[in-house]
Symmetry: C2
Subunit: 364 residues, 2 copies
């Protein structure tokens, strides 16, 4: 695995900012530059700050990290600078990290960085005095996926597919079950598919809650004939997947109004998929998906090291699709009593797109 092309792109941004080095602290950028999937599930750690990535021309990429989160292997061109992890000694990860950054910078005081790095290092006496924010450039570079990013996306999408299959299987016999019980089956299937714990952004709502776009599963009990809206974005190996389906509880026919809404949303998703190709304006793709529907959110978004990347499909979007972008498309319809949302993730190819997610979209 080589991340050399990514490193070259990041150093171009650094040079354009007139800076001799680049420091990144956003977990998505650290993953993109070093391959490390940072721990995120339990919030800020009282033991250590998150890992950092430091780049400078002609130097190896440095991953500055606690011993506890240091990977067993690193990609070519990446070296770890590790500080003491969780021991019985004094715990001062932020100080250790700043010291290592200062040593690696060796007097360079004006650097480029992402906004997370700018926040983390501005106040320290030994650290950079000025961090020039290149967050936007990094987001643009990340939007076009290389072979490694695509492989990681496929794995994460397969985990999402496993979750959708589990939801569909559980829904058939779910009358009387709580949303949170269905979620246990879904998450269990995702983590069994990945063979490890998986951070998971998810909507799982039932009945009238589906009209509210999304939300976390709760103790609401589902009943035959109700809808379940399930949107699953698992992070596997540092890359996020995404998928959404809306299914009916039980084995009876779905309510007619739900079938009509589902058909409209399904048609919108099909139109959007057919419209994807390099050069299409992002706002035009949003218009195609949104035509005839009225949902108060984006029509889709890029996805990769973050669950929501560029491009962002909204009416005010600028820019055009580029080959290699990977985009989630998620038109929807929300009525007073229920909502339907369907989502596929596609890769922009030379003359159209490839649908990467493989879950079923039928109501039942």
């Amino acid at each position: 695995m080589s991340l050399a092309d990514r490193h070259a792109q990041a150093l171009e941004l650094t040079a354009a900012a007139g800076a001799p080095a680049l420091l990144c602290a956003d977990p998505a950028n650290v993953h993109w530059l070093t391959g490390l999937a940072c721990e995120i599930e339990t919030g800020p750690s009282p033991f250590a700050p998150g890992p950092l990535a430091l780049l400078a021309p002609g130097e190896p990429v440095r991953l500055i990290v606690s011993e506890d989160e240091r990977p067993a292997t690193l990609p070519d061109g990446v070296e770890a600078l590790a500080y003491e992890g969780f021991t019985t000694g004094p715990l001062d990860g932020p100080r250790h990290a700043r010291r290592l950054v200062g040593e690696a910078l060796d007097g360079r005081r004006v650097i480029a960085g992402d906004s997370a790095a700018a926040r983390g290092f501005a106040l320290d006496g030994d650290a950079p005095r000025e961090v020039r924010d290149v967050t936007g450039g990094l987001l643009d570079a990340r939007a076009v996926k290389d072979a490694l990013a695509l492989a990681e996306l496929r794995t994460a999408l397969a985990a999402a597919d496993a979750g959708q299959a589990a939801l569909r299987a559980a829904a058939r016999d779910a009358d009387g079950a709580a949303e949170i019980e269905l979620f246990a089956a879904v998450r269990g299937a995702i983590e069994a598919s990945a063979g490890t714990r998986v951070p998971l952004l998810a909507d799982l709502v039932s009945g009238p809650r589906t009209a509210g776009i999304g939300g976390a599963p709760g103790d609401r009990v589902v009943r035959d004939g109700e809808l379940i809206l399930c949107d699953l974005a698992p992070r596997v190996g540092g890359s996020w997947g995404d998928s959404c389906a809306t299914v009916v509880v039980g084995d009876g026919p779905p309510p007619a109004a739900a079938q009509r809404a589902h058909a409209r949303v399904h048609d919108a998703l099909r139109r959007a998929i057919e419209a994807v190709r390099p050069g299409v304006a992002v706002r035009e793709l949003d218009r195609v998906a949104r035509d005839g529907l009225d949902y108060p959110h984006h029509s889709g978004h890029g996805i990769g090291s973050s669950y929501h990347e560029r491009p962002r499909l909204v009416p005010s979007a600028t820019g055009s699709l580029r080959e290699g972008m990977v985009i989630a498309l998620e038109p929807a319809s929300y009525a007073d009593a229920f909502g339907v949302r369907l989502e596929h993730v596609v890769r922009v190819t030379a003359d159209g797109c490839e649908v990467l997610s493989r879950h079923r979209l039928e109501l039942s």
Copy 2:
């Protein structure tokens, strides 16, 4: 629910720092000051920075928060200042949050803050120029639990108990199952107990992996007669619980060496619990737990709005126990082939302690 005593303590720290206001960004401090359990499971959001708490004498406590994370109700004395959440418009949560902080501060440029707030606001032109770090004082204030914190801890510990019971039940018949499958049963029980999703810090390791202190569940298949070490710290309603047990797989007798190690650790935990009372030096409590054992980590730690709070039970600790502190005690023994760790959470009472966690500790 009133948080008036906490607010008074925080304002005392603010005055001692010579500052007219206090800004907190650490999710643990935001919870302690406003009751809000911040979203943490999916890492930094691309849509909004985390919630902030702002205090000043004679003013209501302000919770500065995206509309998406604004609670339906707030405790007495707390008001929300909310900015636009997830829409189709421009997304710039950090700018909105800084603007609201600037307006609420109304020209006060030197303030007190926790270290997370100091990081987040130092670079902005309209925001405070100097943030005086009172993180340590806030940690000391949080260490002694009021009635609300204790009630929340009991709920979180009950969720951990439910997870331990599920692990124990699953272990009996686990031969051939993967760790990650057992984890699904454990997490499912915790979330069913809470009726909602629950952030979860957890070790779940089996066989020789138990010798390595901890780690995430993986695809390792467990076998009859092996040990499983399971440490569960779920966050429910903003408060963390914690518990650890070590159990044998199957219904046969545990290996003799494991029984001996378990007896030594169990005895250490009993000794530590008996030693807890106000005025006991923290390092003495660590010594009592550690006596005759050799584990490379703390003997325990405070717990509440963060999963690891003061006091920290290590040989170099300073300070003494105070009535109302809540402490996890977790002595352990790690051999070449296996490890055993047991943990209870106790509340320091006027003349001893009350054991708050209720899970079983037996090997089988």
